[in-house]
Symmetry: none
Subunit: 195 residues, 4 copies
DNA sequence: CATGAATGAGATTTCATTCAT
DNA sequence: GATGAATGAAATCTCATTCAT
């Protein structure tokens, strides 16, 4: 079972770095120190291996989303926690997260495939979470009166954009977490004392 | 020459939708209504076709960046124009832009390749532009005293995140342009009357 | 197109001699003097090549059955002609005919496959032809009062058994044609003067 | 030992239905409810398993041939008994018999292999038996003066053809046994009262 | 400019077989 | 007896590319 794990780890990294098609089964097994047929012993094929990695990743991702604390003193802290969770995740599972951001999109055409399914689910979850948050924050006067739908899309875009930068190794997010939160806070929260 | 253009258009779309590796020369020619050797008459090969498309796209992109008006009354208007330019671009050249966002990243390892080169150039350009802008805006008291480096990264992430959403067809950016600008404005510009 | 024909001829022979599974695409192409991918240029795959050969063979077979003369003085001559047609066919297309007898049966489980389909069609045709023949021959007193269904099955079995012997190279049917006809005639036709 | 038998039974069936090459060791073990290495505990390999099944079958076949009664009142009864024996055999061991008819032929090229060897032996036995029978029957005036060699081939073809029909599940031999015998009797035996 | 036919290199996958337990 | 894990060898198939016309 150790070897099975070696395959999964190596494949995650390579799929993330090079994409699904550009990664050959031979390369995976060579770097994992096993022989090619072992992939086919543990998985139905290259596709199934990819699917397996992706399911695990999204499962982990969604289970973490569920742990977000919904009893924060302010609505903004929920957003802060959501952003923090993503920064945390990409530190722990850089390849896996990058896989969902970068390799998935090229496999999105077939609406039944696992990428499409999970990316939709993610979007729905984040939209619902943020919409709640903004609605409540605006109604209790914590937030400025921003248009909810657009602002939700925007925050999701920010999260995605940041993870992507990081995946491209264009940024070492250190310090960006705090600043992203501040940026949003200034834009959303009413009556902040000026910096 | 019409057929050459058909090849380029079809290839742009397919490379963007499926990635470079997942797109076969046969598929390109079939969907373009030509035969395979014609690719080799007009280009050195599949790589060269890709390179051609990418260079044109980045050339167009950089030439547009150069048209940005640097004599705006306020510094924020420069940022507004920059964001607007990207929204404009993705409306006009959706496949080409999505290509740079989605297909390039998996080809980034080789530092000599055209993707790496241009993405670095893009990043340098945007960083320089936004750094100038923020530095000046802060010094003249138009902007809050935000940490420049991080905020620059953040704005770039927002732009990328938005284009990516659009490419994934998760969003119809209509309305998002204006709201993105407002979001940033609230966060950056001092003494706005509260909404 | 000459090379395509070389593939078909070589494949027919090898499929017949060794069976479908035991024949490799490499072997076919080597013996046909071409390279492997050429199979995939002209056919969808090994299966499609097999299917193509089989369709042509059965098409030829059924078109010959249709040429059988139905205006013979006696009913027995129809049977004689039917047997003769099969002997003739196996002389002209030994590999192809042997393919239908020997390689088809192992592919019979899937009821939609081309073997199943054609073998059923063949059986239906022969049954209908022979049933007519026997019915009429009995009613006009040319034939003994034999049980029609069973006798039809038996004549089909004789034809199949003979072709199979020949395919196995256990027999050189010379002389067998005439004798097969005599054997059946003695059994079926009334009032023959004893040999 | 029960599991060994499960392997043998399942393998017989699958080899007969699909052929030797098309049947994988994995399929055999799955359908037999065991694991692959067990085949290698009981047999030297897939070839050896096939050989084992085939030897048993032919051994049983030849031992039955030896039980044929040679002291019948008429020569024709010998032929009748021979045909009956084959009908009987295919009822009892349908897979095994079909194996010899259908799977063996594709393995006939190598003259040292077990199929070639046994099929030759079978042919020799039947030829010798029937030749004796016909020679004697003709000399004592029981049979018409038929050409012996050809008629022998023909009777063997009939037997093979019938077993094959049955194996292909094109026929339920019920009733055919009796009628096959009658068909041959009418053709061979002198002075039958007309039906 | 354009194509039908063909190919070299290599990818994915299968399968009989073995090893360690 | 029996098995889960693993493998060497080879099969089918794909794909970018080229040749001859």
């Amino acid at each position: 079972m150790k070897k099975k794990n070696d395959i999964i780890k190596t494949a995650s990294r390579l799929f993330a770095e090079q994409g699904f098609e550009a990664t050959t089964t031979l390369q995976i097994t060579k770097e994992a120190g096993v022989t090619e047929p072992l992939i086919y012993y543990h998985f139905k094929g290259k596709d199934d291996l990819f699917t397996h990695i992706l399911s695990s990743t999204f499962k982990e991702y969604f289970s973490r989303l569920e742990t977000l604390n919904n009893n924060t003193p302010t609505e903004f802290e929920k957003i802060e926690n959501l952003i923090g969770l993503h920064f945390q995740l990409v530190e722990e599972l850089p390849h896996e997260i990058y896989l969902t951001i970068n390799t998935c999109p090229t496999r999105l055409k077939d609406p039944e495939n696992i990428c499409a399914e999970n990316i939709k689910k993610q979007k729905a979850w984040l939209t619902s979470f943020l919409t709640d948050c903004l609605d409540k924050g605006i109604s209790i006067g914590e937030f400025n009166k921003v248009p909810v739908t657009e602002t939700v899309s925007l925050i999701i875009a920010i999260i995605n954009g940041l993870l992507r930068q990081r995946g491209l190794k264009l940024e070492h997010l250190s310090g960006l977490n705090k600043e992203s939160v501040e940026f949003c806070k200034r834009s959303l929260v009413k009556n902040l004392t000026e910096l």
